[in-house]
């Protein structure tokens, strides 16, 4: 009798345990398994001139076309490089040879399987016309097909950032695989028929209005665990419509009225309002942007390092944070070009100069630089709140210490055109992506006089030599020492500097599920619930 009781009790306990386990497993399953179907409407802050990332420096193209094209390698949420269209890879001991094995099951939008010919054609185009590909060119020897699914990349010199640059999330740098047939048709010209391997394919592109993407039914996902751009991409949504809405308030209203499911970069000052709205979820992108103060080092007064240093002392950076971004929860003062936790983060850089507000010292340095009082021209964009308000705040701060300033605010294309000229501007504000996995991915690091600063002096050549050593050094510790050397030189000569880091704020409708706040917005693995 006693045994029967014990048995009954045991069965009861086991049943309860099983029930609990089933309940939790169902809940877990519900959380990870999405709902197929539906059309997502997103409001992006700006349009793009075309959809060919190799032919533009516009990061918006890469962000949108991440749904259509994929890289051999992609970054996960920890900024770790993961093979994506690649199955595996190996690097020779001398760092000059990379053998990449491709996945064999990858279907392209034209119904063909991706193979080494597609990758080689795409790579050749990337090296020839993409800005990042161009950087590799001087060190690169050749890419050869070993068989249909293996490729060897050979370098004449070791080139440490190769894989990181190929997967780079910055601007247009990422290498993506396109079908050979479209490269044969378009060559180096702007591609307007898109055949990739991504979970979505282009349905319709109406410039300045919207981009419609539809699910690619034969998509062959990577089977690794999903993590930002790496791993499994599941196209739950039938269709994604990316609308270009330049006015932030219109984007906000669109989400409030359920016209849009997503609004990119909305006002951080409205954060509390969004938080109080049950239909809206806020998506804060971890401080992934830098507000960079750029000087034109090719002409007076900033061809002199003392004048450049004077600017650091002249600016109250905390005040700049309030002016440019507003809500202090969304910005922080940070002189390093990499965020804390990044393998290339450097502590205590810029000590003694960064965030040391000292107008007297600024005046003294300007005098040392023989600054003759010619008004300084600030060239800045008026489409971006951070850049526009930053320019206005800098003007006010410099005028407070007696420097005459002329402010020139233009639309983005005009700013890009004017800043490419040697004359006509002295100061420029630019926003840069902070989350970069390699010290050399960042455009600001990829050269000195090659960049917009027009820096071309003995100091810039010394900086070039530092970059050159950084490119060739494949050992992390050795390379990190060179990075520290770079920082020392940078704060000694100040060719440009990071004023502050700031976060972006997106908003989504509550019915949009499993949205990941990544540095570039994507909608695979997300779904809509009624």
């Amino acid at each position: 009798m006693k045994e029967v009781l014990i048995l009954k009790k045991s069965i009861f306990i086991i049943t309860i345990l099983l029930l609990i386990m089933m309940t939790f497993s169902t809940a877990a399953q519900n959380e990870t398994e999405g709902v197929y179907g539906g059309r997502l409407n997103a409001a992006l802050k700006m349009s793009a001139p075309h959809l060919d990332s190799d032919n533009s420096t516009d990061s918006q193209i890469t962000a949108m076309m991440n749904h259509v094209y994929e890289g051999l390698f992609e970054f996960d949420e920890n900024l770790q490089l993961q093979p994506h269209l690649a199955e595996s890879y190996s690097v020779s001991d001398d760092g000059r040879e990379y053998i990449v094995e491709l996945r064999q099951d990858v279907m392209m939008h034209n119904g063909e399987k991706m193979d080494a010919d597609d990758v080689l054609a795409s790579f050749e185009r990337w090296v020839n016309i993409n800005g990042a590909g161009n950087l590799i060119k001087p060190y690169f020897d050749q890419a050869e097909k070993l068989d249909d699914y293996r490729i060897r990349f050979k370098f004449e010199e070791p080139y440490a950032p190769f894989l990181n640059i190929m997967a780079s999330p910055v601007s247009n740098q990422k290498f993506v695989v396109r079908a050979k047939e479209i490269i044969d048709v378009f060559g180096d010209n702007v591609i307007n028929r898109h055949v990739g391997t991504g979970p979505y394919q282009v349905k319709e592109w109406i410039p300045d209005q919207n981009l419609s993407l539809v699910r690619f039914e034969d998509y062959s996902p990577n089977q690794m665990e999903a993590s930002f751009f790496a791993g499994k991409r599941t196209p739950y949504l039938d269709e994604i419509v990316l609308n270009f809405i330049t006015d932030a308030q219109v984007r906000v209203s669109g989400v409030q009225t359920a016209q849009f499911h997503f609004a990119e970069e909305v006002s951080r000052d409205q954060y509390q309002l969004f938080e109080a709205d049950a239909n809206i979820n806020t998506q804060i992108i971890y401080p992934d942007q830098m507000a960079v103060f750029v000087t034109n080092n090719g002409i007076a007064p900033f061809d002199n390092k003392y004048a450049r240093k004077a600017m650091v002392y002249a600016l109250d950076l905390e005040e700049m944070g309030f002016s440019m971004v507003g809500n202090p929860d969304f910005w922080r003062l940070e002189p390093s070009l990499h965020e804390e936790g990044n393998p290339w983060y450097a502590e205590n850089v810029g000590e003694g100069i960064y965030n040391v507000y000292d107008p007297d010292k600024a005046r003294e340095l300007l005098e040392k630089a023989d600054y003759d009082g010619t008004p300084l021209v600030i060239l800045s964009g008026q489409d971006s709140q951070v850049e526009r308000q930053g320019a206005i705040a800098i003007k006010d701060q410099l005028e407070r210490i007696g420097i005459e300033v002329e402010l020139q605010l233009f639309d983005r294309p005009t700013v890009v055109e004017r800043r490419s000229e040697l004359e006509g501007w002295n100061i420029h504000l630019s926003s840069f992506i902070k989350t970069v996995p390699d010290p050399q991915i960042h455009q600001g690091w990829t050269g000195t006089n090659k960049w917009i600063t027009n820096w071309n002096s003995e100091e810039s050549r010394e900086m070039d030599a530092i970059f050159e050593r950084m490119v060739r050094e494949v050992d992390y510790d050795q390379r990190y020492q060179i990075v520290e050397e770079f920082y020392e030189k940078m704060w000694e000569t100040v060719p440009y500097f990071n004023m502050l880091d700031y976060s972006r704020l997106h908003i989504t409708r509550a019915e949009l599920k499993n949205f990941e706040p990544a540095w570039q917005t994507f909608f695979w693995n997300t779904w809509l619930e009624e």
């Binding site: 006015d247 932030a248 308030q249 006002s267 000052d269 409205q270 509390q272 309002l273 005040e319 700049m320 944070g321 309030f322 002016s323 507003g326 008026q382 709140q385 526009r388 308000q389 206005i392 705040a393 003007k395 006010d396 701060q397 402010l407 605010l409």
Partner: protein, 279 residues
């Protein structure tokens, strides 16, 4: 006389209302530096988006600038633009209109050109010119003047044509008066009423269009205060700081209303037919 203190002009309710509003605006614009202790462009970001208080009568904007101060200086900018546009429009409009109305041979050429210009809405012409020349107060004044003068010229031409064949002009010509004497002594004096009315409407239109151009980003360049520019900047903050958009918006409404009332009042007063009806 038009402005005799006993004239009925000062008994017109529209005109009286308009003059009161405009006097207040003019006072605020002229004495702005004495009315407020703040500078219009002085930022204080740690004090941003403060609601109206005793310290900041209309609150502060996204840079911590005093909104009341910026409105005072914004009115000043609007009045400067409006006044300058009216003067330039009068000079060119009257000159072209008189030439066209008085000399029929010139009329055909000039009027076809002006018809072509008038085929486009004034604001479109102004936006195009401002986009080509760039923003800034002077460019805005030139752009708006260019956009408005054809209408003024057409009004002047009509008046000149209707006056030049009247008996007293014929009499002057018969006694040997020259063209310029006739134009200044007889024609322009008698064409003054419609010109004056159109000038006041142009003033209102210039204020409104300057605000529109600044709102579109091709007007007065920041950080200089302008009513339209303030509204543009306030759009991103209108839900958290509504005072930023309400105050300059009301000021634009009042200033345009005042000039429209003045124009209507003057038209009613100067038009004998309308005056008869009213009386």
């Amino acid at each position: 006389m038009l402005f005799n203190k006993n004239s009925r002009i000062f008994k017109e309710p529209y005109i009286i209302t308009a003059l009161i509003i405009l006097s207040i605006m003019l006072f605020l614009a002229i004495f702005a530096p004495f009315i407020t202790e703040y500078k219009p462009n002085a930022t204080n970001p740690r004090n941003r988006l403060q609601p109206p208080s005793s310290e900041h009568f209309l609150g502060t904007d996204e840079f911590g600038r005093d909104v009341f101060t910026r409105i005072l200086y914004g009115i000043r900018a609007s009045l400067q633009v409006g006044f300058s546009v009216v003067i330039l429009t009068l000079i060119f409009g009257v000159f072209i209109g008189v030439l066209s109305g008085f000399y029929p041979k010139l009329d055909r050429i000039i009027m076809r050109i002006l018809d072509g210009m008038m085929a486009f809405p004034g604001i479109i012409i102004a936006i195009s010119l401002a986009a080509i020349w760039g923003g800034g107060k002077i460019n805005i004044i030139l752009a708006l003047s260019f956009a408005y003068f054809p209408k003024m010229a057409r009004i002047v031409r009509s008046s000149v044509i209707s006056i030049k064949d009247l008996e007293y002009v014929e009499s002057a010509r018969a006694v040997g008066a020259g063209d310029s004497y006739i134009i200044f002594k007889y024609i322009l004096r008698n064409a003054a009423s419609p010109i004056l009315v159109q000038a006041t409407f142009n003033f209102a239109l210039a204020i409104l269009d300057e605000a529109a151009l600044s709102f579109l980003g091709v007007g007065i360049m920041p950080p200089a205060p302008s009513l339209g520019g303030m509204i543009t900047d306030a759009r991103s903050f209108m839900t958290v700081a509504p005072w930023l958009i309400i105050a300059p918006g009301l000021m634009i409404i009042f200033s345009v209303l005042a000039f429209n009332l003045l124009g209507d009042g003057l038209r009613d007063f100067l038009d004998p037919h309308l005056r008869g009806k009213i009386n």
